[in-house]
Amino acid sequence: MRLLNRLLRRTDGAVALEMGLVMPMLALMLYGIHDFGTVYVEALQVEHATQTAATYAYKQFVASGSVTQSDIQTAVTASEPIPVTVAATQFCGAVNAGATSVTSAACPGGGTYITLSGSMSALSTHHPWSVFPTTLTASVTVRVK
């Protein structure tokens, strides 16, 4: 009993103990910050890659009158540091009444558009309980004709 009292009065190692208590919280926070940052950067990269794909698709379409999905993918893979998959959809469209969107229309009355959809699995080290998305996507539409 006296020993217990003495131990309770001792302050040695208090900091270590506090450290032990705070550390998990801190680690979790740091992990969260890192994960958020990584996902954020990757999201930007996906968006940038999709815009690059749009620029390439536009120029290629103007130059040769057509562009293939594989050409776009090759261009994006060659120029971007991350493995983004780009899907391209070509459609004839017309501006809707409120100028808020381009809707499908008969060819060749309207313009020709290409929508580029970029996607990539997040590279950050997720845990199942992570709130961040596991697949990052971006979409860009441009008129090519």
Binding site: Y58, V95, S101, G111
Partner: protein, 564 residues
């Protein structure tokens, strides 16, 4: 109280609180600013694609209308930036105003996306420093796209080979036994004159029971006139082929003036005075006249010959002997007729003309191939300066007005004039007054020196004419004037004139008389055309697209490019 100040317990908590607030504040600001940069990056991509998309709807030279603006806004919306939503503003501006290499270019369009941001973490700072001015920025980006333009020209060759430019019913006058034979179209629809307004009168007039024209083919609308009332179809109007077939209404068309296709054609005339004709042509020489009035053959080497004003023997280009044979190298020649130099008889007011009254003439313009009926060069045979004195009217005998003084004789010497060389101005008549110089001795006019200005009279003053003098007094001097039409170019008399190329007399009258007035793969542009002979024209050897052709230039826009 003093015990409390000495107590150090909880100091870490206080330090941590202070440090943490600064730390979180810094992280907050960092995250927020990063977010704005990321937004701007996204806007940039959207603005670029919106600009390129809008440019597809931008017409060459602008403006960016509703279609163009809506195109930009729709694409911006599809890419995440919808105008008017969440404080987003999408502005479409053409020509662009933001600094780029396409700023101010009407063929470019700028799309500017902006969004007013609000503070999230930055609000912490407003708590820490309530007096500081902390505001969220208006984040924006702009993209500029340019459309290229190219022009395409399509030409259709004309089918006419006679064009008169006078807005007059007798722009073409066919007299006596005259037969204007044209295996091509004839346009008498007023040309330049008609374009300046007034009632369209350009047409053809027949004078003489046997006068006739033969025009084009049955398939062509061979005769182009401005006047709704025209003598064709009628007994004077036949087709060239099939022979002896009367024209029908289908062969006639009304026009609001066939433009002079050669109104931009010009030649640079060497400066300096002219030299007298020696009988041996030298390419590039500026002659006072080319006067072929003797026997023998004169061949003109290929090239351009200039004739200034004419001289006492010839009004410009003259052939007057039926013994004369005139030819040119196959490569072709051009005769440029312009005004004289200086203030003498054949000075700045006198323009060289053509006066052919006889001879056998075969001339070819550069590039004109009579056999093939094609033109591969300049194809101009005669070109009269467009500043030449203009024919104002043509009378029923084919004589064009105005008249100029060609000779002066003393009728009464007068008295009291100042001795020396005096300049006299003719009094009377209607039009520009003629002036001449004469020698005065003993107060009386003793000799005529030169005609300094032949004048241009629509009504010639009656002989003897009175005059005014430049210096001093004097009375009683009277003169007899000889006047001639000064805008008449004649291809007349017996002989043959086979020509290939363009004969351009846009301000004056061309008179075609005699059996061989002109024939060949040739065309005439003149103000009036007087036909009393049997000229025969065919098409193909005229410069450019010929007469009555069309050239259409269209602007084509090419796909937009993005300002880098």
């Amino acid at each position: 109280m003093s015990k409390m100040f000495r107590c150090s317990a909880g100091s870490v908590a206080v330090s941590t609180a202070l440090v943490m607030s600064v730390l979180f504040g810094s992280i907050g600001v960092g995250v927020e600013v990063s977010h704005w940069y990321q937004l701007r990056r996204s806007m940039q991509g959207a603005a670029d694609t919106a600009a390129v998309s809008a440019a597809w709807a931008l017409p060459a030279g602008g403006p960016c209308g509703a279609t163009c603006i809506n195109q930009a806004k729709a694409v911006a919306a599809m890419n995440g930036w919808q105008d008017g939503v969440n404080g987003v503003s999408v502005d479409v501006i053409s020509p662009p105003v933001s600094p780029s290499r396409f700023a101010g270019n009407a063929n470019a369009v700028e799309v500017k996306i902006t969004q007013q941001q609000s503070l999230m973490f930055g609000r912490i700072l407003t708590v820490v420093a309530p007096n500081a001015t902390i505001a969220a920025p208006n984040v924006g980006a702009f993209g500029v796209a340019l459309i290229g333009t190219t022009t395409a020209t399509t030409s259709t060759n004309g089918t006419d080979c006679v064009l008169t430019l006078a807005n007059a019913a007798n722009a073409i006058l066919v007299r006596g036994n005259g037969d204007l034979r044209a295996n091509c179209g004839i346009a008498a629809d007023g040309g330049i004159d008609q374009n300046v307004g007034g009632t369209p009168l350009g047409s053809i007039t027949f004078s003489g029971a046997n006068s006739i024209i033969h025009v084009g083919t049955a398939a062509q609308k061979g005769l182009v006139v401005a006047a709704s009332s025209t003598p064709c179809p009628g007994s004077h109007c036949d087709l060239f082929t099939p022979a002896n077939t009367a024209m029908t209404g289908a062969n006639i068309s009304l026009s609001t003036a066939t433009p002079d296709p050669y109104s931009g054609l010009s030649f640079t005339i060497p400066s300096g005075d002219c030299v007298a004709w020696t009988g041996v042509p030298v390419v590039g020489t500026v002659y006072c006249s080319i006067n072929l009035n003797g026997a023998g053959t004169t061949n003109f080497p290929a090239g351009t010959y200039y004739i200034r004003g004419g001289d006492a023997n010839c009004v410009g280009f003259c052939v007057s002997s039926n013994q004369s044979t005139v030819t040119s190298d196959t490569a072709g020649v051009t005769f440029v007729l312009t005004n004289g130099v200086g203030t003498g008889r054949f000075g700045a007011n006198t323009y060289a003309r053509v006066n052919i009254t006889s001879g056998k003439i075969t001339l070819n313009a550069p590039g004109a191939d009579a056999a093939a009926g094609t033109c591969t060069g300049s194809c101009v045979l005669f070109f009269q300066d467009r500043h030449a004195t203009e024919t104002t009217s043509l009378d029923s005998s084919g004589t064009p007005s105005p008249f100029g003084v060609s000779a002066v004789a003393i009728s009464a010497a007068g008295s009291g004039y100042t001795n020396g060389t005096r300049t006299f101005t003719v009094v009377g008549g209607t039009g520009t007054a003629a002036t001449f110089t004469a020698t005065v001795a003993g107060g009386a006019v003793t000799a005529i020196l030169s005609i300094t200005n032949p004048g241009a009279y629509t009504v010639v003053p009656g002989n003897p004419v009175s005059v005014t003098v430049d210096t001093g007094g004097g009375t009683g001097a009277r003169f007899n004037l000889t006047t001639t039409p000064i805008t008449l170019n004649s291809f007349a008399g017996n002989g043959t004139r086979t020509m290939a190329g363009l004969l351009y007399f846009s301000k004056q009258t061309v008179s075609l008389q005699g059996n061989g007035a002109i024939r060949g793969c040739t065309g005439i542009v003149s103000k009036y055309l007087d036909v009393a002979g049997t000229p025969e024209f065919s098409n193909g050897c005229l410069p450019g697209t010929g007469i009555g052709g069309t050239t259409t230039t269209t602007t084509i826009t090419t796909p937009p490019t993005l300002s880098e």
